[in-house]
Symmetry: C2
Subunit: 213 residues, 2 copies
């Protein structure tokens, strides 16, 4: 009884905190405005999360856990080279498009606490990024991927690109007047086109391509 209600209010606090931390930043958000958003008083919030710092940790932990759960589901799915590329980048993009605040939180962590984010990336993402570079090198041996591609640097660039575009891409779009301003879909489509065109040697190979003589 009490427990269900307590978990529910905890969830609502964490949800509100996620939104406010993402849009105004950690130091730009006060516990007062979070409590207001939930409809309770600040000391009540502090009963559920002992301190502002603990609330921040809970928000990030949920985000990272969600991300970690998503990765293996994606990488183990697809089969062919092109297939694998499509599935990976679409799932990766989809995760952040589903809620751009995820990308904003990560970008803010990269700016505010770079060392801590690096530790998380190193411990939880390294095995998976190594798998991706392994497949890129396989593609190079098969003659599908250009030799001038630097697999590690390529993966880093795509990660940065996906997160930055979903977080603040709409702001950058203001370099054009509204008549030609690009929709979110157009920007995402161009991102995928660029990632693909700068990886594969041929524009859109069929799945059976195996002979490169």
């Amino acid at each position: 009884m009490t427990k269900n209600h307590s978990e529910e209010i905890r969830r609502r606090i964490q949800e509100e905190a996620t939104r406010q931390f993402a849009t105004r930043g950690f130091s730009g958000t006060s516990l007062e405005t979070i409590a207001d958003g939930v409809g309770i008083r600040r000391p009540s919030l502090l009963y559920h999360f002992g301190s502002k710092e603990r609330l921040r940790e809970a928000v990030l932990e949920e985000l990272f856990q969600h991300w970690k759960d998503e990765i293996p589901r994606v990488l183990t799915a697809a089969t062919g080279e092109q297939d694998r590329f499509d599935a990976t980048i679409e799932a990766f993009l989809g995760f952040f498009l589903e809620d751009p605040n995820r990308a904003r939180l990560i970008l803010r962590e990269a700016l505010d606490r770079p060392e801590e984010l690096q530790k998380f990336l190193q411990h939880h993402l390294t095995p998976w990024s190594k798998i991706i570079t392994h497949y890129i090198r396989l593609g190079q041996r098969l003659g599908l991927v250009g030799d001038r591609v630097n697999p590690e640097a390529y993966v880093i660039q795509v990660i940065v690109q996906v997160i930055a575009t979903t977080a603040v891409g709409y702001v950058a779009a203001a370099v054009f007047e509204s008549e030609v301003r690009q929709s979110r879909e157009a920007k995402v489509a161009e991102l995928v086109r660029m990632a693909r065109a700068s990886l594969f040697l041929r524009p859109s190979p069929s799945k059976e391509v195996e002979d490169n003589g």
Copy 2:
């Protein structure tokens, strides 16, 4: 005499504020720590810049002015298609590589005050970004640039990529262990390679290419 000294201390305050705003954010920085960094007291700082908000405006104005001055110098220089591409992206990248805090400040503005940044981009960058898309369309007519390139979306993606990579690229590099971690140069080289490979149809055309029959 007094004026020279006053201008000098103003410069030092602005410099220190630029560094602290970029690394800790506007709301994460107190006037006290800025004054400390300069070696004066907070009320003395407030004599030069009437308020924290005015200091922020001065910091951003300097950055934006510097950027605006740089653009025409670059775009009017180069001649050929490939030349123009190299000169533009190198100068654009160089501006942020020279001081990554510039990229961090812009990224923070995009997160903290998106509407204001959009206004700046719209008023001061639109003419120049239109020139770039004009040249991309010229390249498409000449058969040098692929038809599937969306000129506006491409420009937006490259802008986002350059700023995000120079601001926080080194953090993302932690997805690999230190043995294979990429140097700044490797990441920048890959960024340029990706931008080029996803724009031009042929890998590295010679400069004299003008006949597309």
